[in-house]
Assembly symmetry: C2
Homo-oligomer: 243 residues x 2
Amino acid sequence: MKTHDSPLARKLGAFVALSNSDLGVLSDLFRRRRRFVPRKDMIFEGQTNQSAYVMATGWACSYKLLKTGERQIVDFQIPGDFLGLRSVLFRTSDHNIQPITRVDASELTASDLLSAFQRTPRLATAVLWAASRDEAMVVEHLVGLGRRDAIERMAHFLLELYARLRLVGLADRLDYDCPLSQYMLADALGLSAVHVNRVLRQLRDEGLCTFKNGRVVFDNYDGLVDLAGFDRAYLDHEGPLLA
Amino acid sequence: MKTHDSPLARKLGAFVALSNSDLGVLSDLFRRRRRFVPRKDMIFEGQTNQSAYVMATGWACSYKLLKTGERQIVDFQIPGDFLGLRSVLFRTSDHNIQPITRVDASELTASDLLSAFQRTPRLATAVLWAASRDEAMVVEHLVGLGRRDAIERMAHFLLELYARLRLVGLADRLDYDCPLSQYMLADALGLSAVHVNRVLRQLRDEGLCTFKNGRVVFDNYDGLVDLAGFDRAYLDHEGPLLA
């Protein structure tokens, strides 16, 4: 895959028009490719001197374990996302990251980032934008847990994933492949697995959306957007802001 | 106030040892000082071409309004924090920011940031660290709403504020001034005001912490840390990582 076709370049390209020299710096960041197997943490809470990764293929989730043993999934990561960007900037990782499918990712250290920023400060602004977008998603999840009911939360979640996947070329017109189990959805949305099942059935019965056999299909996209109160501004996909 | 004494310099200094030239770039960012009055939004959701701010004095809160009119407070901002960093990188602000007290802040545009990063890429890495730290806090709030009960959530919140305030020189040994009302705590923690009142009384009755007349006093810091399962790693205050 050419650098300019990589999911990260597609994503950053939504914020900043990347020059050939920016793409050259990006492609240096992709040099140390690693492969990870499902269900084995690639970054874990409390780990020090951790690398970060840029995801090329696959799905992962970031989560925290509580002293009760409960798991809260914070977010899912898809191609083009940074894994553990905080871990590389902090001394100690404050969360776990686990591959859901096989994951191919490029390893980065803090000094890789610093030297990339030295070569192209525009890339620094783009990475700051990407990190801000990640934060905006966590904010939406927070608002969801605090103030949205179960069906709105699920609708919002499925719409957000669609917008993210589409940006990196992984969603079709109104559907996408999704390897997430109902248990994972439950741990992300603060619901029980039984509740997740009921909510998905309700979305299907109301003709809004079908999640079956690893595929999400929007049967009534506008209706779902309405139900979720979904506002795409926080994902900001309207084309480069910095020329 | 000298630049190296500013709350932002103190905060970024926890991540990167700032050189005189870094401090010079920072002090240019502080040139356009603005003043804001309490209870009047300084940034609002849906606003375009928004500036960001670096807070010098005061308290503010970032929040989202739902279509039901309910408010979810996402976080509180204190001196040294960026206000609306996402708003300046996104086309459209995805949240509101409102001063709680009088606020003095310096105005920044996206091009101010880009030019600062061009002059010192180390500063770009430090700002990315600060943004990552903000994200880590939102993650903790998410975990709180999803998986912590009311008293753990409150304990965690008061400990986090203390660590943040201490970093910028605004907390004493085991106490700090806090202008937040019980209504604000309720909207941040996903509780009712009555519930907030009950939880604060419980913390006081158990000899852990007293929040009265705008001042938080830790009566038993270690006990509170235990109760909250509070881990300071996500705030990362151990001194410069980048020499």
